[in-house]
């Protein structure tokens, strides 16, 4: 492992022994509102980075635009705060060229499921090795409370003041409908232990891990997850050895549902459930082809390339 902190002279650090702590990943002070669920997600991610001992310089967070997409600024890894809806193509480009980097993607619900919907469908299909987090607060936060595709039907916003016209789009079902999707999970930021365990499972999966994180926005959509937050009985914990099991939560979340993440049909049914909120790994299949691997080609040195081009020019010589 190579590691280096900018504040210490390079040569005095014994790189092999250095162990990253959560604080090694701290970037600028997070500027989300007090009580914003994004804070808790940031903490879980920092914990994950430390647990996995990911070198900050080999880790990249890519995001779109939105409150959630400020994420990379608050970490001391490499970061790419992109444009609205387009985090996934950027991340694709990074992975295609640099499989040595660990890449995380952070998107808001508008970012991912509205303007970014096309890329989302196709990224699931490409199945690159990415951890993709959808920070779903059911609203447009940054632009101050407009309806998003995941806004619950009837919820009032500035653009639909008489309540959202349509049933909320279910991102889990969409993801499960895409051919070659390999990992779909749902967790909630107000259950930090579950959040962390789910992100860890996502990170350990090879392929694109899509994690929908239910996220509270106390400013613009506080009502959305109110019931689920207040009544643990409204939540089902999906448990399975191939999914996530967080025993410390057993006492609070007593609805435990065994679900084998290899069962796609069951995953789809669970995804569609409207009575309870299901947290856990809905689907996982490590055997799906990963585009970055199928596309990998042997690298060439500059000199090799010169020789090869010369040979190629022969084909056009007269």
């Amino acid at each position: 492992m190579t590691a280096h902190s900018v504040h210490l002279p390079v040569l005095e650090l014994n790189l092999e022994d250095y162990e990253y702590e959560m604080s090694d990943y701290e970037g600028a002070r997070a500027r989300w509102c007090p009580g914003c669920g994004d804070h808790s997600i940031l903490t879980a991610v920092q914990r994950l980075l430390a647990a996995e001992q990911l070198a900050p310089e080999n880790t990249v967070f890519v995001s779109g635009i939105g409150c959630s997409s400020r994420f990379p600024h608050y970490l001391k890894t490499y970061g790419f705060h992109g444009i609205h809806g387009r985090a996934l193509p950027i991340a694709t480009g990074i992975r295609l060229h640099r499989p040595d980097l660990t890449v995380f993607v952070v998107m808001g619900d508008g970012d991912c499921t509205s303007i970014g919907a096309g890329h989302w469908v196709h990224a699931l299909r490409y199945n690159l090795d990415l951890v993709v987090m959808l920070l779903d607060n059911g609203i447009y936060g940054l632009t101050k409370q407009q309806t998003s595709p995941t806004t619950p039907q009837g919820f009032r916003s500035n653009t639909q003041p008489r309540g959202s016209w349509l049933p909320a789009l279910n991102p889990l079902q969409v993801a499960l409908g895409v051919t070659n999707t390999s990992f779909v999970a749902q967790t909630a930021e107000w259950v930090p232990a579950h959040l962390y365990a789910t992100l860890r499972a996502a990170r350990q999966h090879r392929g694109l891990s899509f994690v929908r994180i239910l996220q509270r926005c106390p400013v613009y959509s506080s009502a959305v997850y109110l019931e689920a937050v207040q009544k643990p009985s409204n939540i089902n914990m999906l448990v399975h050895d191939d999914g996530v099991v967080v025993h410390e939560l057993d006492k609070i979340y007593t609805n435990q549902v065994a679900h084998d993440p290899h069962d796609l049909d069951a995953a789809r049914r669970i995804a569609g459930a409207t009575d309870r909120v299901n947290l856990g790994v809905l689907f996982r299949d490590g055997s799906k082809p990963r585009y970055e691997e199928t596309r990998r080609v042997p690298p060439r040195t500059q000199a090799e390339r010169v020789a090869l081009i010369d040979a190629e020019l022969d084909r056009y010589a007269i």
Partner: protein
């Protein structure tokens, strides 16, 4: 029109007849073969072009593409084929009009006539079987076509191609093209060994039998022409000029990209850019590169940006509507100073426009399309050879200046084929291998040199360099700007780089005398046609010169000085401008050619323009006319000249 009811045998015996043949010795000739799609006219033309190049002629070929994928037979819209202009000097453009055509039916010939593609005195060799077809509709169509063609001075030579081919093969649709090739080989005295060689190469993936049958047809055509045609055409070869390669502009772009060391082409199919990626898809992996076909053009440029960010400059390739979709991402790339190469192979616009036809009307969109102030570089290759080299230049500028470089090619370069000096690839053309050395202590993400705006690039994997790229206005450390002044300064830094690049460029050379009555200014694929027109006009005693710009942003230096030495300056461009004298058009409201708009603003010289959007490359002859008319005005208007 002069129609021969039957091609006259050139003599009782070959040798005796030879004496009576007219041998036309010309500096150049333009040949085309037209047929229904699928009849192989293109292959015939390609072989003829390749052999001519190998024999030392200057050559420029273009495809004649039908409007549909598989048009019905015998309709004008179905005309498919190949046009080859050969000369005793290097040929730089498609020329004015076809001087000799071989047509497999009269309808496709008619199409060419209607597009004004045929010289008034062209020789037209046309399959004669339709005249006597058993279907009365076809006979009627033949008659009516002949009568439409009779308005010109064409020399029409009916040829029993099918009848002849049937003496050797069962399905003449698959052999006529070789028969035609044989006729052309005879008329232009092509070296038959080379022709056979080229046939062998063209059908290398097919069976030996196919090769033999094709050669037999070739020889049949050669013999038939030898016996029945009373003319031969001689185009002396050009003086040899070292090792050459021959390819079209899109292949040259693809090869140039490889030579530049780039390893990722992210694209979404769109005509006429796609064939670059077809070529690269075939070979790129061998060079350590891949073509990624993204879900759309937005994703394509996003992937290229991600890859560039990750350390290796990548490129995306597209055409008009695709460029439009990339607009937002280009703004991000400029704002984040991401090295990026964008190739736009221009086609007719606006909107879907003329998808397969040439136009130079994306200059302003490429330059100004992005919202906000988004300075970046634009280079337009002027020849097919430059299509190769521009990719190397573009990659280097993108990297050295941390900037977006848009390369503007067009459908004329994309599909034209011509020989050019074989490039000698060098290691230094390529990007350096990734360097993941630790970033020096305290170095910022954008450590702008306050004079030049340049800054060293930091890429993921470099210890100590961690920062977050953002499209928000940011300071040197890539931190979001809250305080006033940061935006003004960072805007200046991004803009300054263009001035620095401009300071490294030289003024464009003037073609012809460095002063005179008229200076024609061009950019992109029109160079060959403009310079040919200038040559012709000068030969007629007109005081005209031309200059050609490769850099459109920043503009090359010294333009005003060059312009001032001419009484009148005029751009020639393949884009739309209002014609003076049309209703409601005044000097004040006239919408001008895109380059002329830029030059007027930059130099305050009254740069006029002559522009057309005919859906085909400009013909040197039309440019000569435009020059003539411009000079006529100049000499006859009371206040001639703009240089007050």
């Amino acid at each position: 029109m002069h129609t021969e009811t039957e091609a006259r045998p050139t003599g009782e015996a070959g040798a005796a007849g030879a004496a009576r043949r007219k041998l036309l010795s010309v500096a150049e000739h333009t040949i085309e073969i037209v047929s229904d799609a699928g009849e192989g006219a293109q292959k015939c033309g390609q072989i003829f072009g390749a052999v001519s190049a190998k024999m030392g002629n200057g050559v420029w070929t273009v495809e004649i593409i039908p409007a549909e994928i598989q048009p019905p037979p015998r309709v004008p819209e179905g005309a498919s084929g190949y046009r080859i202009r050969i000369g005793s000097q290097p040929v730089t453009n498609w020329g004015d009009a076809t001087t000799l055509a071989v047509a497999f039916n009269e309808q496709v010939l008619l199409a060419r006539h209607r597009l004004d593609a045929l010289a008034p005195d062209a020789v037209l060799l046309v399959e004669n079987k339709w005249a006597t077809d058993e279907d009365p509709d076809i006979r009627a169509a033949w008659e009516s076509a002949m009568s439409e063609l009779s308005g010109r001075e064409y020399r029409i030579v009916p040829v029993p191609m099918e009848e002849q081919c049937l003496t050797l093969v069962d399905n003449p649709r698959k052999g006529k093209n070789m028969f035609a090739l044989g006729m052309l080989a005879c008329i232009y005295d092509r070296d038959m060994d080379r022709v056979r060689e080229q046939i062998a190469y063209a059908f290398r993936k097919k069976s030996e039998e196919i090769y033999r049958s094709n050669v037999a047809l070739l020889e049949l055509g050669y013999a038939w022409a030898g016996e029945h045609l009373d003319f031969r055409i001689e185009v002396e070869p050009a003086p040899s000029s070292g090792a050459l390669v021959v390819m079209n502009g899109n292949e040259a772009l693809g090869l140039g990209a490889i030579a530049s060391g780039m390893e990722l082409c992210a694209m979404y199919p769109i005509t006429p850019a796609t064939s670059v990626s077809h070529y690269l898809s075939e070979v790129f992996e061998r060079f350590g590169g891949i073509v990624h076909q993204a879900e759309d053009e937005i994703a394509a440029v996003g992937v290229a940006i991600g890859a560039s960010y990750a350390g290796k400059v990548a490129f995306t390739i597209t055409s008009g509507p695709g460029l439009a979709l990339k607009t937002e991402f280009l703004g991000l790339a400029v704002m984040t100073e991401m090295p990026l190469v964008v190739v736009n192979v221009q086609r007719g616009g606006p909107s879907t426009g003329l998808p397969t036809k040439v136009e130079q009307s994306d200059l302003l969109a490429a330059l100004f399309g992005q919202t906000g102030d988004a300075p970046h570089v634009i280079i337009a290759p002027a020849t097919i050879e430059e299509c190769f080299h521009v990719m190397v230049t573009a990659r280097r500028i993108a990297e050295a200046f941390r900037t977006v470089v848009i390369v503007l090619s067009d459908a004329n370069l994309a599909t034209g084929v011509t020989p050019f000096a074989r490039p000698k690839p060098e290691v230094r053309w390529q990007a350096e291998p990734l360097d993941l050395a630790p970033v020096p202590d305290g170095q910022k993400a954008y450590q702008w040199d306050p004079r030049t705006g340049l800054s060293p690039r930091v890429i993921p994997g470099q210890p100590g360099g961690m920062y977050t790229v953002t499209g928000l206005s940011h300071d040197e450390g890539s931190k979001v700007a809250y305080s006033s002044g940061v935006h003004q300064h960072s805007s200046a830094m991004r803009s300054r780089k263009l001035a620095v690049l401009q300071s490294l460029l030289s003024p464009p050379p003037v073609y012809g005398e460095s002063k005179g009555d008229l200076l024609v200014v061009g950019w992109g694929s029109t160079k060959g046609a403009i310079e040919e027109a200038v040559d012709r006009a000068r030969a007629d005693g007109l005081q005209v010169s031309s200059t050609h710009l490769r850099f459109l942003s920043p503009l090359e230096p010294g333009l005003k000085k060059i312009f001032k030495r001419f009484r009148k300056v005029m751009t020639v461009e393949i884009n739309y401008s209002d014609e003076p004298g049309e209703p409601f058009i005044t000097d004040e409201n006239r919408r001008r050619g895109q380059l002329s708009l830029l030059l007027r603003s930059a130099t305050l010289v009254d740069v006029d323009c002559w522009t057309r959007v005919p859906g085909e490359p400009l013909r040197p002859g039309s440019i000569v006319e435009a020059i003539r008319s411009q000079l006529h005005h100049l000499h006859h208007s009371p206040r001639g000249g703009n240089q007050s």
